[in-house]
């Protein structure tokens, strides 16, 4: 029986008078690939930040992997992020003075112990076995995003979050990254929640939810 890894009830997030996310009820079964679509300002990133433990909800309830995020302290949220979540950013956000290998090892350092052999394997898995010693500035956008993916999966997270991971990539690199995510998901069985405004990218998922003005307006099965 498949259990729900994410369960939200009336989840909201407000910034003063502005309600970025209106009460949201959402269930995500373990292993599902959920695409979140919507225009700019529709609340996609707000939802992703809440699910990743980067931000705190203003109301409602938020259960992730059986853990109530509403009750966690700052350090509790940090522990949750390093043990439970891997995040892929649109801007990659790699540390500029570290090599590709060291960027991956940095995630290991905060999780447990830096393991060079394991980090090498992760980079080889995303096709960057020959770019281990290159700094982010020496890598293309697609390569940087693959380093970002290797870093996100190195600690075997249960939940992989992607915030427009292909937003800065061309069509070819987008296809490569999505194919890679699909393969990794089938190998590691993690749940993916991917925010995008690109229908083609969203279709790689199992299910699509659409947000508009902070509210869930539509839900459908993906098209691929």
């Amino acid at each position: 029986m498949v259990t729900d890894i994410i369960e939200t009830r009336g989840l909201t997030r407000s910034y003063g008078e502005i309600c970025a996310l209106k009460p949201l009820d959402l269930l995500v079964p373990e292993g599902e690939w959920l695409s979140v679509m919507g225009h700019s300002g529709s609340g996609k990133s707000t939802l992703l930040n809440l699910l990743g433990g980067l931000d705190r909800p203003s109301g409602g309830s938020l259960q992730l992997g059986g853990e109530d995020l509403m009750t966690l302290s700052e350090d509790g949220l940090a522990r949750f992020r390093r043990e439970f979540v891997g995040i892929i950013f649109q801007q990659h956000h790699l540390v500029p003075y570290l090599t590709a290998l060291e960027n991956v090892m940095m995630a290991q350092y905060f999780h447990s112990v830096p393991d060079e052999a394991e980090a090498c394997m992760a980079l080889e898995r995303v096709g960057l076995g020959k770019r281990l010693k290159n700094r982010p500035g020496e890598l293309s956008g697609g390569e940087q995003q693959r380093v970002c993916i290797a870093r996100a999966i190195i600690n075997s997270p249960k939940l992989l979050l992607g915030d427009e991971p292909t937003g800065n990539l061309d069509h070819q690199n987008t296809g490569m990254v999505m194919e890679l995510l699909k393969e990794l998901r089938s190998e590691q069985q993690f749940t993916i929640i991917l925010v995008t405004h690109n229908r083609e990218v969203a279709d790689w998922g199992d299910r699509i939810i659409c947000l508009d003005d902070g509210a869930l307006v539509r839900e459908e099965r993906a098209g691929r």
């Binding site: 930040n49 990743g52 980067l54 931000d55 700052e74 350090d75 940090a78 522990r79 949750f80 992020r81 390093r82 043990e83 979540v85 995040i87 950013f89 801007q91 956000h93 540390v95 500029p96 003075y97 570290l98 060291e102 090892m105 940095m106 995630a107 350092y109 905060f110 999780h111 112990v113 830096p114 393991d115 060079e116 870093r151």
Partner: protein, 385 residues
């Protein structure tokens, strides 16, 4: 890889990446540490140098028997001081002096002897100590051997004596004949006295191994001369210990003023250095907002991020302290050679001080920026806000 090794690796890479800013911070820290080192070495060496110079002025403390003098007066009337013969124990003086860091001790026994029907003021001394403690004594003739004497220039004129003449002098308990080895001229009370060996004077007066006065050259390292005098007085029963003030006050006062000036200059430089470190670190934190947000998003606790920044501050502090020590030692050597005409040795105590000062500056200067690291919100940081 071990976590600590990884932390050091990351810290050094981060510092190497921001070469310009790292060099600026290192420069500020090294400058402050070198100032502390050089002023510390110069100040310490200056204390020793002044002590050496003071030594040339002879004794800095004088010990008198407490019963030897008594203030006489009543109802606001002051009749002055009356004195009666009183003595100090030679053995006790030498024992206490040896224990309490007294560099030299000159024992004196003053009294009156009769010579050719005249009463003459005389003093028993140890001529070897007198030669060391009173290098300004100008002697016509030479320094005496056993059974020889030195006569003050005024007394010599009064008695019509010169170097090589014999003088017979007697006290209440004994008498002796002395060849005048030299005639002394100091411009002081010594010009009116006859100096004979201490043992002969004790024999002539029949006072055993007693003395009427001791003049001491005491080390003042760490304490003032006044404190040293008080300490000696508490140990010497029935004695009064006084400073030879004109010399002691001038040297100690001057040294203290110079050291105070040095401390004030150092304090101003340290405050300026701390401000400079704080502003540079603040700019660094602002620039690295996204990086801090990323680390937090990866699961770093606030303490974990803080540890990285503390590591950078510690590395900068230690390197700055090391460079500052080398630089400061060089400056101190130059100053010592050109101003005091002496060469300063390597003093490793100041290596620790230099590193400690630099480390404190780096950590203090980073304290404010680090607090903002502590409070940074990962979402806003990643958005570059």
């Amino acid at each position: 890889m071990h976590r600590w090794r990884w932390l050091i690796h990351i810290v050094l890479k981060s510092l190497a990446y921001r070469q310009g800013r790292t060099m600026l911070l290192l420069g500020v820290l090294a400058m402050a540490a070198s100032l502390v080192t050089s002023l510390g070495i110069v100040s310490s060496a200056m204390g020793l140098r002044v002590a050496e110079e003071v030594r040339k002025y002879g004794a800095n403390l004088v010990v008198l028997p407490a019963a030897a003098r008594m203030e006489v007066g009543s109802g606001g009337l002051d009749f002055g001081t009356i004195a009666e013969p009183a003595y100090l124990s030679q053995e006790e003086l030498l024992r206490v002096a040896g224990r309490e860091g007294v560099t030299d001790c000159s024992l004196h026994l003053r009294g009156h002897l009769r010579s050719g029907g005249l009463e003459i003021p005389a003093e028993g001394v140890d001529f070897a100590v007198i030669r060391r403690l009173y290098p300004w004594w100008q002697l016509q003739g030479g320094w005496p051997d056993a059974d020889e004497a030195v006569i003050g220039i005024d007394l010599a004129a009064r008695l019509k004596l010169k170097a090589g003449d014999l003088i017979r002098a007697s006290g209440t308990a004994g008498a002796g004949e002395f060849r005048v080895a030299g005639v002394v001229s100091t411009g002081g009370e010594e010009d009116k006295l006859l100096f004979i060996p201490l043992a002969k004077m004790q024999e002539a007066l029949g006072v055993g191994s007693s003395v009427s006065q001791a003049r001491l050259l005491a080390q003042t390292g760490g304490v003032t001369l006044e404190q040293r005098a008080a300490r000696l007085q508490s140990l010497l029963s029935g004695s009064v210990v006084r400073e030879v003030r004109q010399v002691a006050r001038t040297s100690e006062g001057l040294l203290k003023k110079v050291q105070l000036l040095m401390a004030l200059v150092t304090a101003v430089v340290l405050i300026a250095a701390a401000s400079s470190v704080a502003s540079t670190m603040s700019m660094t934190v602002l620039e690295r907002g996204k990086e801090i947000g990323l680390l937090k998003a990866m699961g770093a606790t606030r303490t974990g991020v803080l540890l990285l920044f503390c590591g950078e501050a510690v590395a900068l502090g230690l390197i700055g302290g090391g460079v500052g020590y080398l630089l400061g030692s060089g400056i101190a050597r130059f100053v010592m050679k050109t101003v005091f005409m002496v060469s300063a040795g390597i003093d490793l105590r100041f290596a620790g001080l230099s590193c400690a000062v630099s480390l404190c500056l780096a950590l203090l200067g980073s304290a404010g920026p680090m607090m903002s690291v502590f409070r940074l919100d990962p979402v806003r940081s990643l958005r570059g806000e």
